[in-house]
């Protein structure tokens, strides 16, 4: 190797060829340029001109220079010039120690570059090398051994910073076991953070040779972010009266401080689960100081969304703090007053509350007992029920300790039903704007200054038609947070201990007012949640079981799937868990009760590395510059120049065709053509893609459902028995014909529903007004999925006729009571009673006395208290075997005789069928007719 200052040549003999350069120069000069032939009329005048100097007709000097430069570059490139060749001991192995704990993530690329520079130089000299990493891995590291530098280089590229601290003492032990021959070069790329093993490791390394410690230097120090401190609303009285409250989040960054540490400023970001940045705050650390703090101000709706804090432009495990469910805490519980009964969307309180609260609060629902078992910020009780004495103490205690209880009025919220009301209520409510009332529904008044709703715009269309009234009292005005235009309170609140009891004097459904339908309702609930104290992350809701890892951070602050080496953490031990190979920082625990394990939470204060022996050489990264080989650069430059020479030669010899010289017209034409082609291409593709999408979407609706939607029709459930299905099919078919003849209901061919169909959903049943189910003893039990689909259908306003003839000798076998219970028990069927004589079913089309079928005496059961669906019973259960009475064969002859008999009964059976269908189609409007006789009587008087 030839060395010239900082440049060395690996193959210097190639330079010898440079001696031939003058020869090339001569050869180039001697080559005459080519002759052009020109026809010229005045050639005669040129014949006897004095000849010009021949020597002038050589290659231009600058072209000569270019060609010689090409040769020079090629020769230099072949000679392998290398910059910054390391002048170190030529022999002896290389030991590289690399800190790869969390602190090394800062300037990691510089560290890797330094190690690569060392190893590449060792590789050039064929020195053996070994790489020692100081951070423990999840599994035991294999013993160290010397290997060729090239293999170690591959190891380095696979190394990444780990999200836990280093263990230098363990590394010292591993190094101690290393067998090295000769005097080694030992380099330690340190992260600059002190730990107990520094002196051990230094001593172990010094046994092999001179130790050089390379650090990032005082200017670049690893940065640590401490878990932010969320200032929960503690002075509720003050905050209760301030609209638009906001939270301050205390941020703290710390570093390894030395006397020369400069002042730094870093931006801390709050990021939500989707990666959207919610807020940025600058945190600065003064020169020479170890830490700096700042406060991040943000409204609580945003604060609840925070998923992590990180430092902008510095993605490491130490600067990333994960926020867990403990953090996003304004849990709101909705106590469901009606645990039993059919839930109807759009008609129950919980639905409106859930829709309004879901955008900004963590929602839970369930009974009071269940809700209060876990920390809760806000408890919403809708439906106006009484809090049972057994639960009263518990709820009171929760309110006193800072809970916010929001109650809504309702028919059952009577005067002073329990002590957890902010004001005394008067017995009986107040209705405005009813049919018999002269006054109209009242709008809201602007919110009082002392109210948390202060400043919100009151829409004009929000009116209240019913409310509960407060007993006048001296402090009523102070307790009122919202009132109506006539001064009566709409929302009242009272402070209880550290918490609040808030009462809406209307229901949470649109029955009493239009408030739940307005955007104002959402805003009011949001303000209320802001008023609540929140739940401090005191670990009070520890999960007793093990917390499974959900996602873990890597050394660069990225969340990822936990690997197989990550172990669950026992719930009670979580508070003391530290970031370690088997428990890296990350999120643990089930959804909804996730806990975050943050690296910074358990780290000691950062100290500069001490305890190194005085004989150690300390350097910074700048001292290790990478060796650079210029061979590829020089050769490419030579090639480029050669190409340029080619072009120049062509130009000089005028070998470039005329059309290529310069033609702006042709260029613009080509450009236009390209653009047009592009447009055509894309324009062609896009509509086709859309069309394909549309076709795919259409295909999702199956043909039967589409037919049912397009034309109203009856449906029956396939029982699995061909015989029974035939009865149902022909019965409904005959009934459809009767309906066509006698009524305005012109229905299409009845449909068949297969409960065993894997794709059966309520959506597929919903188009049918009636589903007729003839249950027999041999009825195969449908899968659970089918039951839930039927439940869904009933809940959304469908009607099922269960026809279960239990008489001995009934077609398909009389069903026993146990079998019927078995099937109906799986369905969410409301309480049923025997149909009364004045039931709408008896008068929905024909005036009937009972609804006979093949049998006339079986009772017909209907829903007892059918209030959900416009007063229409969702089930009709009978044993009259209607379908058998309706069924006709192909010739129009009745298939089965009626019992006890007579065509009169069959006609009645048809009339019963017509009534059933009309009841399902038209609802309860005939119910009004029940009162007609008495009204007429009264009018005639």
């Amino acid at each position: 190797m030839l060395s010239l200052g900082f440049i060395s040549f690996a193959t210097p003999w190639a330079l010898a060829a440079a001696a031939a350069l003058p020869l090339v120069w001569l050869l180039l000069r001697l080559t005459p340029p080519s002759v052009r032939q020109i026809n010229f009329p005045a050639a005669r005048l040129l014949f006897d001109l004095a000849p010009t100097k021949r020597s002038a007709a050589h290659t231009p000097p600058w072209l000569m220079l270019l060609r010689v430069t090409v040769l020079m570059l090629a020769l230099l490139g072949l000679a392998d010039p290398i910059l910054n060749v390391r002048q170190s001991s030529e022999d002896g192995p290389l030991i590289v120690v690399m800190d790869n704990g969390w602190a090394a993530a800062t300037a990691w690329d510089d560290r890797v570059a330094a190690v690569r520079a060392l190893l590449e130089s060792a590789d050039r000299r064929n020195q053996p090398a070994v790489l020692v990493t100081t951070a423990p891995g999840p599994t035991d590291a294999p013993p160290l051994r010397m290997m060729p530098a090239r293999e170690v280089l591959a190891q380095v590229l696979q190394t990444s910073p780990l999200p836990w601290p280093t263990n230098r003492a363990a590394a010292a032990e591993r190094v101690g076991a290393l067998k090295v021959t000769g005097d080694a070069t030992v380099t330690w790329i340190s992260d600059g953070v002190d730990d107990s093993g520094v002196s051990d490791l230094a001593a172990a390394l010094q046994k092999f040779g001179k130790l050089t410690v390379i650090e990032a230097g005082a200017l670049i120090s690893p940065l640590l972010q401490h878990p932010p401190d969320r200032a929960f609303g503690n002075s509720g009285a003050a905050r209760g009266n301030v609209a638009g409250t906001s939270n301050g989040i205390g941020l703290k960054l710390s570093r390894v401080a030395t006397a020369v540490s400069p002042e730094i400023a870093q931006t801390v970001r709050a990021v939500d689960a989707d990666g959207q940045v919610l807020a940025r705050t600058l945190v600065s650390i003064a020169g020479g100081k170890a830490s700096g703090t700042a406060t991040m101000a943000m409204p609580s709706e945003l604060a609840n969304r925070i998923a992590r804090f990180d430092v902008e432009g510095l993605a490491t495990a130490a600067t990333t703090i994960l926020a867990d469910d403990q953090w996003q805490r304004r849990p709101v519980g909705i106590a469901s007053a009606t645990a039993e009964g059919i839930t109807v969307p759009l008609l129950e309180d919980a639905y409106y509350l859930g829709e309004a609260l879901a955008p900004f609060a963590e929602l839970r629902s369930g009974g009071l007992e269940e809700l209060l078992a876990r920390p809760l910020a806000v408890l919403v009780m809708a439906g106006g029920g009484k809090i049972l004495d057994a639960e009263l103490a518990r709820v009171s205690a929760w309110v006193d300790s800072g809970g916010l209880l929001v109650r809504f009025a309702g028919p059952r919220l009577d005067a002073n039903v329990d002590p957890l009301l902010p004001v005394k209520l008067r017995t009986g409510g107040r209705a405005l704007g009813g049919t018999m009332s002269w006054n109209v529904p009242v709008a809201l008044a602007p919110f009082p200054e002392t109210s948390p709703f202060k400043g919100m715009v009151v829409p004009e269309d929000v009116t209240v038609s019913s409310q509960v009234l407060a007993e006048p009292a001296a402090d009523l005005v102070g307790k009122t947070w919202a009132r109506l235009g006539d001064g009566t309170p709409l929302v009242t609140a009272e402070r209880r201990g550290k918490g609040w009891v808030v009462l809406f004097h209307v229901t949470a459904t649109p029955e009493w007012s239009k408030l739940p339908l307005s955007g104002l309702f959402v805003d009011m609930l949001r303000r209320l949640v802001d008023v609540s104290q929140g739940v401090p992350a005191d670990g009070s809701n520890e999960v007793a079981g093990a917390l499974e890892p959900r996602s873990v951070l890597d050394g660069r602050g990225r969340l990822g799937q936990p690997g197989p080496t990550v172990l669950p953490i026992a719930g009670p031990e979580f508070a003391d868990a530290k970031a370690a190979p088997t428990t890296p920082p990350g999120l643990y625990g089930p959804p909804g009760a996730t806990r975050a394990l943050n690296l910074a939470a358990h780290l000691a204060e950062l100290q500069p590395m001490a305890g190194l022996p005085a004989s150690v050489v300390r350097q910074t990264f700048a001292a290790i510059s990478r060796e650079r080989n210029f061979k590829p650069w020089l050769l490419s430059a030579a090639l480029m120049l050669l190409l340029a020479d080619l072009v120049v030669s062509f130009v000089l010899r005028r070998l470039i065709p005329q059309s290529l010289r310069f033609n702006p017209n042709a260029l613009s034409k080509a450009g236009t053509a390209a653009v047009v082609l592009l447009c055509l291409g894309t324009g062609h593709l896009i509509p086709r893609a859309f069309a394909a999408d549309a076709v795919a979407r259409q295909a999702e609706i199956d043909s039967a459902t589409r037919a049912a939607v397009l034309e109203t029709r009856l449906a029956y459930i396939a029982t699995g028995s061909v015989e029974i299905d035939r009865i149902a099919a022909s019965g409904l078919d005959a009934l459809t014909r009767i309906l066509f003849d006698r009524t305005a209901a012109e229905l299409a061919q009845p449909a068949r529903l297969d409960l065993k169909s894997p794709t059966l959903t309520a959506d597929m049943q919903l188009p049918y007004p009636i589903i007729y189910w003839r249950i027999t003893l041999t009825q195969v039990l449908p899968p659970d999925r089918a039951f839930s689909a039927i439940n869904d259908y009933l809940r959304r306003g469908g009607m099922v006729i269960f026809d279960a003839p239990g008489q001995a000798g009934a077609l398909g076998g009389g069903v026993t009571q146990e079998r019927l219970d078995d099937i109906l028990g799986r369905l969410d069927i409301p309480q049923v009673v025997e149909m009364g004589a004045d039931h709408v079913l008896n008068r929905s089309f024909y005036l009937m006395h009972g609804l006979p079928g093949r049998y006339a005496n079986a009772p017909v059961m209907v829903e007892r208290d059918a209030t959900a669906h416009d007063g229409v019973s969702s089930v009709v259960i009978s044993g009259n075997d209607w379908a058998a009475a309706w069924a006709k064969d192909a010739n129009g002859v009745p298939m089965y005789a009626v019992i006890p008999g007579g065509e009169q009964q069959r006609e009645m059976a048809y009339r019963a069928g017509v009534n059933l269908v009309m009841y399902a189609l038209t609802g309860n409007y005939k119910a009004d007719q029940v009162h007609v006789p008495s009204i007429l009587q009264r009018l005639s008087q």
Binding site: P32, P33, S34, V35, R36, Q37, I38, N39, F40, P41, A42, A43, R44, L45, L46, F47, L49, A50, P51, T52, K53, R54, A56, A57
Partner: protein, 308 residues
């Protein structure tokens, strides 16, 4: 020559005739455009004779025929007057345009060839002369009279026809001299206009000019040159080939030969001018990159000026 070869030749002739008739209108049109923009001077002989315009009244003499008496004028006076008309004598102008290969040259596709420009100028002057009542006679490429001198529009059309045919033909008689001798007898006191690049050796041109001057013919030399011939805009190593089989020469650095060439061209032109002056002729210069109008105006003045 077998039958099929004959048929082929006849076909070629017809194709060529088509090309000629296609070329004709453009030649004539551009020639007329140029002629129309040059104002015509008087062509009278300034003495009494056969003509259309009135010259003078003079007293009747016994030699006059009675038909010559102008009775209106005689009625005003006692004497009898005779109306005399100005004598108008048609003069023959002889035109020649060089169509040799060297005239087919143009240095750029944007220019016309020298022969084309010379033909247009010749037709334009023919048009002007015919308009003035003169007769024109064209000499062909070898300097022989094309036919008897004719007057009128038909003469211009005939000349255009013949020139176009000559321009298209690529045939060139073997051993044709660089400059025709013009040995044929021409009408006395005719004037002649020669269009050429006059790049032939000066002696050849002198021979031709002297032959004409000896017949007492007054002439005009119009040198038509391509701009490239004026400036030699070439560079590098170039082999210049003459177009009339005069040979070739290799110039190593054409850009350096420029000065020598230009001075030789000027010397050649000075020789031409001296030749014209000696014979009492005029000399004009035209470049194909210029408009032909100024040259035409100068030429017209020269052709008609001697009569005044």
């Amino acid at each position: 020559m077998n039958v099929s070869a004959k048929r082929e030749q006849s076909h070629n002739l017809r194709v060529r005739a088509d090309a000629i008739s296609a070329a004709l209108p453009s030649l004539l049109v551009s020639a007329r455009r140029i002629a129309a923009s040059v104002t015509l001077g008087s062509h009278g002989r300034r003495r009494a004779g056969v003509g259309d315009s009135f010259w003078q009244f003079r007293p009747y003499s016994k030699d006059d025929t009675p038909q010559a008496i102008d009775w209106r004028q005689s009625g005003k006076f006692d004497t009898v007057f005779v109306r005399e008309r100005e004598w108008v004598a048609a003069q023959t102008a002889v035109l020649w345009c060089d169509t040799s290969p060297s005239m087919r040259y143009r240095s750029s596709a944007n220019l016309v060839t020298k022969a084309e420009r010379a033909a247009i100028m010749m037709l334009a002057i023919a048009e002007l002369l015919v308009d003035g009542g003169e007769r024109v006679l064209r000499l062909d490429g070898q300097g022989r009279p094309q036919r008897a001198a004719t007057a009128g529009r038909i003469a211009v059309a005939q000349i255009a026809d013949a020139v176009a045919a000559e321009l298209i033909s690529t045939e060139r008689p073997e051993g044709a001299p660089a400059m025709p001798i013009f040995s044929a007898a021409l009408p006395r006191h005719a004037s002649i206009v020669l269009f050429s690049d006059f790049l032939a050796p000066l002696e050849d041109i002198a021979t031709s000019v002297r032959a004409l001057a000896r017949q007492g013919i007054v002439g005009h030399l119009i040198q038509v040159l391509d701009p490239a011939e004026e400036t030699l805009p070439f560079s590098g190593r170039v082999r210049f080939v003459g177009l009339e089989a005069e040979g070739a020469t290799v110039i190593d650095r054409a850009e350096e030969a420029r000065t020598g060439y230009v001075s030789k061209l000027i010397a050649h032109r000075d020789g031409l001018k001296a030749l014209a002056t000696t014979a009492g002729w005029s000399f004009g210069l035209h470049h194909t990159d210029h408009s032909p109008l100024p040259a035409m105006a100068a030429l017209h003045n020269a052709v008609t000026g001697f009569r005044r």
